[in-house]
């Protein structure tokens, strides 16, 4: 036992007890303050702390044709995302993922950089994974911290109708593009957005409305439980019904198989586009995830320009169809009697000029009146008669029919083309480098500097088909309300004379478009062929026409790029189209 007795003093004991009591009261007092007095404040704070809002998605709207045939639908795939701060050894994980999903690691890294949104936010690194691949990743989940997968709807295209030029495609949003978009749609990097065609034009309608799920999370952002109350549901996008008839569309596409060019068919009274084909096209499935940048570059650099939507973004000289513009001026202004005959000897030499302009028919057409000049497309007749017209008036007539303006079709990237005017010529050739008479000789043939899109040409023919009144604006969304272009007021006599000429083009023996004649179906087809010279090789072959069938007016434009003569190449195609339409009329009439 130890020797020294306890000498503890009661005073010291009490001092320590006092310190103890004071300290404990201080602590309890603070707990009281926090838990009783300030309880409300901290309780609401703790509620906010644990709830995270998470976006939820719904499918994008379908795209169907006028008869309800599904052209674009959604197919569920899986996307793989990574949350950067949860990952350990990013390189190694990417390497493993790369071997499972057989995508090169460089591609994964490229995506990771492109779509990176921040350390705590999931970044999409791979798309279009199969269920089998996902299962493989799920099995090795422990090797992949921070890797998640999500169901994700991809576009699935009808294999026969995957016409990129109308439909367009979806593209992943990158960070640079987001600030340019409408904020209220709440776009996030890596989401899909309609990038061309109707997917872009009707992005707002097709896109789902995002929902919000309130999820209880822990401090690492891990999801614990879905709090179902207060969730805002996501709604699917609206379906888009196109004016397209898928059967006619397929048929048109086949007609242009192996050719460059375009075919457009429309209903004149409603402006509905029944078929619109730009050839060559390409398979839309290249946009489903795996497309390497190389394939894409090949498409862009291809000489046949498959990416180009020729219908609205391709520019071509219109050729002889523009003779009608001259004809309208002649009749409307009373500059000459349509019955008057002019002599075509195969060439024309303007007064006081040494240049000679040839007719396409070297031997000449002989005596030609307006009707014959249109039907046989006599150059000399129009060379001579255009001398009676002022350049300004000629241009304003051409512009009335919609050239040099947008057709306002509901597709993106339409261009206006060119009807040159005085300012243009002065700018291009200098004040003395051109003459009104000279340029008119070119323009009356639809040559020279004139450039039009096939869709503008369709609008032109629709104006003629409806005699200038109530020409409906062209549209591709069936549910878009019908609007009308500015009416064109011409005398009835003018229309009769024009119709006579256009009738003969197809139905008279010497008509340039006789190959389109409808003997079997008995349909009266009006039309005009064009053979448009151009610096790129063979002339472009055109046929513009319209016809009545069961009380409905249809119009069509066929253009074969560098195809040759309008009569020889475009007319037979037009003939087949009309034939097909008439034999499928029940189908077409349906809505």
């Amino acid at each position: 036992m130890l020797k020294i007795d306890n000498k503890a003093d009661i005073f010291h004991y009490r001092t320590l007890m006092a310190i103890l009591t004071f300290s404990m009261l201080l602590l309890v007092g603070r707990y009281f303050h926090l838990q009783i007095i300030e309880h409300e404040r901290f309780f609401s704070k703790s509620q906010v702390n644990r709830v995270k809002a998470k976006a939820s998605y719904a499918p994008r709207g379908l795209i169907v044709d006028r008869n309800g045939v599904v052209i674009v639908e959604n197919s569920p795939t899986y996307i793989l995302t990574v949350t950067p701060y949860e990952m350990k050894n990013i390189e190694e994980q990417f390497d493993k993922i790369s071997s499972i999903i057989s995508v090169p690691i460089e591609e994964i890294e490229r995506r990771y950089k492109k779509y990176y949104r921040g350390r705590f936010l999931p970044t999409v690194i791979a798309k279009n994974l199969s269920f089998a691949q996902i299962s493989q990743i799920e099995e090795m989940k422990l090797d992949f911290p921070g890797v998640q997968y999500e169901r994700f709807d991809e576009r699935l295209y009808n294999t026969e109708l995957n016409d990129m030029h109308i439909l367009g495609y979806l593209r992943e949003l990158d960070r640079e593009t987001i600030p340019t978009l409408d904020k209220s749609s709440l776009y996030r990097a890596g989401e899909l957005i309609g990038w061309q065609g109707v997917e872009r034009e009707y992005e707002k309608e097709l896109r789902y409305s995002k929902g919000v799920n309130y999820i209880e999370v822990d401090t690492y952002g891990r999801e614990i439980e879905n709090l179902n109350s207060n969730n805002i549901p996501a709604y699917p996008g609206k379906n888009l019904v196109l004016t397209i008839d898928s059967e006619l569309q397929k048929f048109s596409r086949n007609l242009l198989e192996g050719k460059k060019g375009s075919i457009i068919v429309s209903k004149v009274n409603s402006g509905e586009i029944l078929s619109i084909v730009s050839s060559p096209s390409y398979n839309l499935s290249i946009f489903r995830g795996e497309t390497s940048s190389k394939e894409w570059e090949e498409l862009i650099e291809s000489e046949d320009k498959p990416i180009l939507n020729r219908n609205i973004s391709g520019l071509y000289p219109p050729g002889s169809s523009f003779k009608i513009v001259t004809a309208i001026n002649l009749i409307e202004k009373g500059l000459l009697d349509p019955e008057d005959n002019l002599m075509c000897a195969g060439s024309y030499t303007p007064q006081g000029s040494s240049n000679t302009f040839n007719c396409w028919k070297e031997d000449g057409h002989g005596l030609v009146n307006l009707r014959k000049a249109i039907s046989e497309s006599c150059n000399v007749y129009f060379y001579e008669t255009v001398q009676l017209i002022k350049l300004n008036e000629w241009i304003s007539t051409a512009k009335k029919f919609g050239f040099n303006q947008l057709t306002e079709i509901d597709l993106p990237n339409e261009i206006v083309g060119l009807i040159p005017d005085k300012e243009f010529f002065i700018d291009t050739y200098g004040r003395w480098g051109w003459s009104e008479r000279g340029v008119l000789l070119n323009m009356t043939l639809g040559q020279g500097d004139i450039l039009v899109t096939p869709l503008q040409s369709l609008r032109y023919i629709n104006h003629i088909a409806s005699k200038g009144k109530n020409t409906a604006k062209l549209k591709i969304n069936l549910n878009k309300p019908t609007e009308f272009y500015e009416p064109i007021n011409l005398s009835e006599q003018t229309w009769v004379r024009l119709y006579d000429g256009l009738y003969d083009v197809v139905n008279s023996d010497g008509g340039s478009g006789w190959r389109a004649r409808q003997i079997k179906t008995g349909i009266t087809l009006y039309g005009k062929t064009s053979t448009a010279e151009n610096p790129h090789g063979e002339p472009h072959a055109w046929f513009n026409g319209f016809f009545d069938l069961n009380g409905e007016k249809y119009s069509l434009v066929v253009m074969v790029e560098n195809g040759g003569g309008g009569g020889a190449v475009a007319s037979p195609i037009a003939g087949e189209l009309v034939n097909f339409i008439s034999s499928n009329i029940e189908f077409l009439a349906k809505k």
């Binding site: 036992m1 130890l2 020797k3 020294i4 007795d5 306890n6 000498k7 503890a8 003093d9 009661i10 010291h12 004991y13 001092t15 320590l16 007890m17 103890l20 009591t21 300290s23 404990m24 201080l26 602590l27 309890v28 603070r30 707990y31 009281f32 926090l34 838990q35 009783i36 300030e38 309880h39 404040r41 901290f42 309780f43 704070k45 703790s46 509620q47 702390n49 644990r50 209880e216 999370v217 822990d218 401090t219 690492y220 614990i224």
Partner: protein, 401 residues
Amino acid sequence: MIYGSINNDLQKLYLIVTSLLVFGLVTLFSISSDPFSFNSSFSRQIIFILFSLFIFFLLKAVDIKAIHDNSITIYLISIFVCFIPFFMPPVENTSRWIDLGLFYIQPAEYLKCATVIAIAKYLSNNQLAVKDMSTVIVPVLIASLSAFIVLNQPDLGTSVIILVPVLPMLLWAGVNNFTIFLMIIPFITIIAASNDLAFNIWAFLMFVMFMLFQGKLLNRILLYFANIFAGLLFPFFWNNFLNGYQRQRFLDFLNPDLDPMGSSYHIIQSITAIGSGGLFGKGWGQGTQTQLKFLPVQESDFILSVIAEEFGFLGISLIMFLFFMLIKTLLDIAFRCSDYFSSLVIVGLTSILFSHIFINSAMTIGLMPVKGLPTPFVSAGGSFMLLCFVILSLVSNFSKN
């Protein structure tokens, strides 16, 4: 109460400790996602307690006289062991732990006991003139040496804890009040030095107090100016001798809203958890801050916040009452036990437990900087649980005298 029997006190002590252990286990059960797996803090805590109990009985068999006679050796060995981590690969960038393969031990925990025993040994010497001011020098040196080594590990919290027992032990030993006063005021001076106005007021108060005490006038004036000087030197010390993280913790403590995702993130989450608990708490296993892991290190440093959130003010009051009774019972035992050395050791060990309790609680409610100190008998953690049982064992052993 003071005149009851030691045996009753010991039984009371065991009862209180058992209650605290049960409370701790119930809480750990609530925060473990899979309590019965071997890795959960709940099962580990049970294993630690069983192991600590084994050590408890082992130490009880040790002759107290052997501890008394070898107290300096024990102290020196402990100091030596504290140096070992400096020569081992750092764990989490510090040299606090010794890796024993199965688990880590933190030698600084046992240095706390060894320091108390060494100081007690010195103060219980019969020949010592305790009233003499020079008495304080050796205990302060013993504690400072320990604290200095631990501070360099670096472990600010533990080194503060090592210094704490000196004052109560000196008080218990009967060192005169003026000396203790002199030992406390420099710290107040330093804290006051952070604000000019506070420093001026404190300088005036200190002047009045110095005048009231007896002793040579010159000494008092010199001591007064020494204090003022210490206060003026503090900013220099602050900038040159404290680590970045130590300064940061102190600053966070002063203003927790400054850096919500840094170390004050802990304090904010802790206060939110406590405050949201209310009077009755959210219920066992129902604390959202806790269960959703907003609350950091909840099984050890912030276990009181868990209790406050899930069991409310009533639960935390019960815990605080148990802590109060624990310390009071220990002081009773110290007061009543028959020999001086034992009495001093128990007071020293009690103040270690008390400082853990106080600093930990004060930390969870934002009254003190985040220190990383666990709460006795409640927090999960093997090393500290073992220390608590070692203290308990020493107390029950020494109280036999």
